[in-house]
Amino acid sequence: MIDWLFSPLIDFGFMRRALVAGLALSLVAPPLGVFLTLRGMSLVGDAMAHAVLPGVAVGFLLAGFSLPAMSFGGLIAGLLVAGLAGSVSRLTGHREDSAIASFYLISLAAGVMLISMRGSSVDLTHVLFGSILAVDSTALWLIVSVSSLTLIVLAAIFRILVVECLDPLFLRGQGIRGGAVHGLFLGLMVLNLTAGFQTLGTLMAVGLMMLPATAARFWSKRLEGLMGLAIAIGMISSVGGLLLSYHAGLPSGPCIILLAGIIYLFSALFGRYHSVFARWRRRVEPILPPDAHG
């Protein structure tokens, strides 16, 4: 039984590649998602996932179904939208989220139009929802490189991100502009979305970023805990989703994300903190000793 369940991951080259790709993405996308949720930017990931579309489309139109071309296009489009939104919000004083919302909609419309100008609706679904069969070794190298780079950069800016999330003024007092860190962080996010779209599609890639992160918040109150759990949830969803996709003949992206979604729903119901169940059986903590009162 177990052998039957897991053997596709070993027997087939495309499953092996998809597995490695999924695990590599699960190592870095969920921690990015944790920072996004902590910064109250949960929906920005979603917006950016739409924003990469015209770049992917241009890559597709110019080079056909080539992952490097499409990823590079997506990266440029994503960075452009992030940069434009950042500049507009800084120049006009409007909130950044409204600027991002405006630009991603423009970007999305441009992308859908570009794809429908050439190619069929099959291509569009492919770009939006991904296909596991298409992960060749070039794609795998790209994904693994992006993951490694993200891991290194994230480690380098980890302390700064933490300090900045809590209290941006502290860093500004040290002469460090939060904008640069913020930009770098958005760049990492776009990079991961473009790397993930081959297996998951542009729209699903953000799911692997956000769902493990939001689910983890029901289980841990510590940053390390959140990161570790989010990575674990991401990996479980990737492996489980791939197997489900293989055995049931379903598209891989939605399988992976739905599995992560089920884990999220379970966490929201039965998680340790703030879940429905935790609220229902809330235990009142005893009063602290007098010297502990502040």
Partner: protein, 240 residues
Amino acid sequence: MGQWRTEALDEPNTLLTLEALSLAQGNRMVLEGIEGHFEAGTITALVGANGAGKSTLVQGIMGELRPVSGRVHCRVPNARRAWLPQQLALDLTFPMSVEELVMSGCWPTHGSFKRYGPTGYRRGQAVMQRLGLQAFEHRPLGELSGGQRQRALLGRTLMQEAQLLLLDEPFANVDAATVEVLIEVLQDMAAKGAAIIIVLHDHDQMTRLADRILHLERGHGTWSTPARVGGSPSTAETLA
């Protein structure tokens, strides 16, 4: 931060000088021609009604706001300048413990990669002990009371060994016991040579803590010493 001039000043003890400083918020001029010297070892209270420009002046001093005219001279390097924001400015849902917050005061010296090391953590422990926080070192910030949180924030500036410290209403929403601890620590920091600027409302705290007072009113600043502002000299004497 173009308006910062880190250069030798006439007085060796003067850490911060404001020269005919005028600051505006948007198109509205808030402060005009503010003059002042802030010496090492002195605590200056910044007072004034709501909207008098206290926060604007603090922003100007921190280099957040470019002066319309005039200058801010500061000889304290970035790494030793600290700013304690009003608590509302913090994201309290962020999963960070007291110890982690205190240790983040090492940022200017340790940057992104340097290990805090046993010496660093020992210093952190000492700081937390000094502020009566050792029982809460692993408690998340979101679960602290206002007083405990304020102690943790001051702990960060202690860790930073701040030489110029600006505090925006540090005693708001803080219990009496914490106020005592904070006052003690601030006086100690001043005694060790820091220049401290505090936005304050409470008159008693002002007379107890401040060496000098900068009163902001209608865009202009007036300097005085605690005994002369408002309250009778006798109050100041009894407290002294």
